[in-house]
C-alpha cells in the first residue's frame, strides 16, 4: 500500500539533503519541575534519514518526540526556549493538527494512540483519514493495505477495546502510518510486541525509510540501532551527549557514563581485536562481528 504508493516513493535517498527537522537551541522545563527536561539541544535530521535517539530513562527522549509533533508546548505546558522546525514549520507557531499533516508520532503506550470513538479496528485506522476529508474509496483501500501489512486484517471487525497489547500496538502503528507522513517518529513503539512481532514492525519501518520517509526512532535495542541507523544521538539528562554515525557514537570510550551500553557486536569485535585474534577493527554491525569471529576461528 502506502509503502508502495507513498508520496515520497521513488525519491532516492540522499538526493535531497535538506533538513526535515531542525532543532535550534531548544530547552524545555515542565511546569512545576525542578530541572529542565531538555537543555539547549541543537541538531538536524536530514530528509530520508534513519535517525535514532538513545539514552537512559529520564534522558528527555519522549519529551523531544512530543516536541517534534508539537505536543510540547501545546499540551505539556512549561518554560520553552529555542524552536524546532519541522519541514520549515515552527512547532511553536503551528498547531498539533497542522504538524500532523507532515509528521506522525507512534506513542510509547499504544493505548494512548486510540481515539476510542471507533467501534471497529477498521474505523480506528480510518479515523485520521476522515479528519483529512479523504474519500471513502481511498480510505477503504488504505485500510485494507495497512491491515494486510500490519497483519491485522483478521481483526478489522473487532472492537479496539478488546484487543491484546500487541494487537493494539499494531493498530496504533497502522493508524499513524496510514496518514503517509513525511516524517515518522517512533517512541519505543515495539515494547508490547514479542521479538518476532517487533522485527516485523521494524522491517516495515526500514522499508518505509528506503522509500524516502524520514524515521526518528527511540529504541533500546542497540544492535538494531547500530545496524540500521544513519545517525545516532545520545541524550543524557536533557543534553546531547553524542551525535554521529553508529560507529562513531558506539566507539566512544565514555558511552557507559551516559547510561548507554555498546552493542554486543562491538563488544565481540573489540575483544577479538584487543586480544590480537582478529585484524578487524571494532565494528558495530553484525557482518563485522561475523567477519572478525570467522578470522579468529581460522
Amino acid at each position: 500500500m502506502a509503502l508502495w504508493d507513498h508520496p515520497l516513493a521513488g525519491t532516492d535517498r540522499g538526493f535531497e539533503m535538506s533538513a526535515s527537522i531542525a532543532v535550534r537551541n531548544f530547552s524545555f522545563e515542565y511546569q512545576g519541575a525542578d530541572a529542565r527536561a531538555l537543555k539547549n539541544v541543537n541538531f538536524e535530521i536530514m530528509k530520508g534519514d534513519f535517525f535514532c535517539i538513545i539514552g537512559a530513562n529520564g534522558a528527555g527522549k519522549s519529551t523531544l518526540c512530543n516536541a517534534f509533533v508539537g505536543l510540547v508546548p501545546h499540551y505539556f505546558s512549561g518554560k520553552i526556549r529555542g524552536d524546532i522546525l519541522v519541514e520549515g514549520k515552527s512547532m511553536r507557531q503551528s498547531t498539533v493538527a497542522q504538524l500532523s499533516e507532515t509528521i506522525g508520532l507512534v506513542f510509547q503506550n499504544p493505548f494512548n494512540q486510540l481515539s476510542y470513538t471507533a467501534g471497529t479496528v477498521a474505523e480506528e485506522l480510518a479515523y485520521s483519514l476522515g479528519n483529512r476529508g479523504i474519500a471513502y474509496e481511498e480510505m477503504e483501500r488504505r485500510v485494507q493495505d495497512v491491515a494486510r501489512m500490519m497483519r491485522i486484517d483478521d481483526i478489522l471487525d473487532r472492537n479496539p477495546a478488546e484487543l491484546s497489547g500487541g494487537q493494539v500496538q499494531r493498530v496504533a502503528f497502522g493508524s499513524t502510518f496510514i496518514m503517509q507522513p513525511e516524517i515518522l517518529v517512533l517512541d519505543e513503539c515495539t515494547t508490547q510486541l514479542d521479538p518476532m512481532g517487533g522485527e516485523e514492525i521494524f522491517d516495515i519501518v526500514r522499508r518505509l525509510n528506503e522509500r524516502g520517509v524520514t524515521i526518528v526512532m527511540v529504541d533500546h535495542d542497540m544492535e538494531r540501532v547500530a545496524e540500521h541507523a544513519d545517525k545516532v544521538m545520545v541524550l543524557d539528562r536533557g543534553k546531547v551527549a553524542a551525535l554521529g554515525t553508529p560507529q562513531e557514537v558506539f566507539s566512544a570510550a565514555d558511552l557507559d557514563v551516559h547510561g548507554v551500553e555498546a552493542p554486543d557486536f562491538l563488544k565481540i569485535t573489540r575483544s577479538l581485536y584487543e586480544a590480537g585474534m582478529s585484524g578487524h577493527k571494532p565494528d558495530v554491525t553484525q557482518s563485522g562481528a561475523i567477519d572478525a569471529t570467522r578470522e579468529a576461528l581460522c
Binding site: 499540551y75 470513538t117 485520521s128 476522515g130 479528519n131 483529512r132 476529508g133 471513502y136 480510505m139
Partner: protein, 273 residues
C-alpha cells in the same frame, strides 16, 4: 472486557437497517405527537405500537422490562400526585379522607406517563438498533459538526471505559489485599478507596485523548470530514420519515383545531382545553 460505544448488538432486523436520521425523526415525531394530543389515548396507542415494534425487532423482553420497570413506579407516583392534588380536579371519583382523587388529575397523569413512555421507548429502540458510528456518520452527513459527533461518541464511551478502568484498579487493589467481595456494606467500604483513582485516571485519560486526537488531525480546519462508516438513505427511509412527519403535522393541526373549538374529537377522555 467492556464493549466500547453504545449497547448496540446487531440482530439483523429491518429497524436496524433503517437510516439513523429516520429513527431520530421517529423519536421526535412520536414523542411530540403524544405530547400534543389533548389526552392520553394517542400516547397509549403509540406505546402499544412500540411494544409490537420491539417484539418484531427481537427486543421485546428488554423493552418490556424497561417499560414496566420505569412505567409502573412513575405511573403510581404521578397518579397519586396528580390524581390527589392536581388543581384540575373537578370530578371526584374517590375520597380517602386525607386525599380526594379527581378524574382530571388522573387523566393528566396518564397523559404524562404515556408521553414519557413514548419518548423513552422510542429512544431505547433507536439506541438499541443503531450503531453509534452510523448515527454520527449520518449526523455529520446532514451538516452536524464533527466536534458534536465526537462528543456523542465520546459520551457513549465514557461508561464502558470507566467500567474497564474500575475493573483494572479493582484487580490491582485485590492483589494488594483489598477485599471487594462480601455484603453490601463491605463492598461499599471497599469501593470508596477505588473511586478516587478511577476519577483521577479518567481525567488523565481525557487529557491523553485530547493529545491523541490532535496528532490524528482532529483540529484541522477547513476540511469537510468524511467517514469510514457509510450510511445511505433508501426509499423506504424517505417514505417512513415523510409519513412520520405528516403524522406529526396532522396531530398538531387536529390538536390546535380542537383547542380552538373548531372541531370536536370524539376519542377524548377528559382532555382539557
Amino acid at each position: 472486557m467492556a464493549h466500547a460505544l453504545n449497547s448496540f448488538h446487531s440482530l439483523g432486523t429491518p429497524l436496524e437497517r433503517m437510516h439513523p436520521i429516520t429513527k431520530i425523526v421517529a423519536v421526535l415525531a412520536l414523542g411530540l405527537s403524544a405530547l400534543l394530543w389533548p389526552d392520553f389515548t394517542l400516547g397509549a396507542a403509540l406505546v402499544l405500537v412500540l411494544v409490537v415494534v420491539a417484539f418484531l425487532s427481537k427486543l421485546g423482553h428488554p423493552f418490556m422490562k424497561l417499560i414496566l420497570g420505569f412505567g409502573v413506579p412513575v405511573a403510581v407516583m404521578l397518579l397519586f400526585i396528580q390524581g390527589g392534588y392536581s388543581s384540575r380536579n373537578v370530578t371526584i371519583i374517590a375520597d380517602w379522607g386525607f386525599v380526594r382523587f379527581g378524574l382530571e388529575g388522573i387523566e393528566h397523569a396518564a397523559k404524562l406517563v404515556t408521553t414519557l413512555l413514548v419518548f423513552l421507548g422510542s429512544f431505547y429502540l433507536m439506541n438499541k438498533t443503531t450503531y453509534a458510528g452510523r448515527l454520527v456518520a449520518a449526523l455529520t452527513q446532514v451538516g452536524v459538526s464533527s466536534k458534536i459527533g465526537y462528543l456523542i461518541l465520546a459520551s457513549l464511551n465514557v461508561v464502558p471505559q470507566m467500567q474497564l478502568r474500575l475493573a483494572v484498579i479493582q484487580q490491582a487493589q485485590n492483589a494488594r489485599g483489598l477485599d471487594t467481595q462480601g455484603g453490601l456494606v463491605a463492598r461499599l467500604k471497599a469501593y470508596i478507596p477505588i473511586l478516587g483513582p478511577v476519577v483521577l485516571s479518567s481525567l488523565t485519560d481525557a487529557q491523553e485523548r485530547g493529545m491523541t486526537l490532535e496528532t490524528r488531525g482532529f483540529g484541522i480546519d477547513g476540511v469537510r470530514r468524511t467517514s469510514y462508516v457509510q450510511v445511505h438513505a433508501r426509499r423506504a427511509d424517505f417514505v417512513v420519515g415523510c409519513g412520520l412527519l405528516l403524522f406529526l403535522i396532522m396531530v398538531a393541526v387536529l390538536s390546535v383545531m380542537w383547542h380552538c373549538g373548531i372541531i370536536p374529537l370524539p376519542v377524548l377522555i377528559g382532555g382539557s382545553r
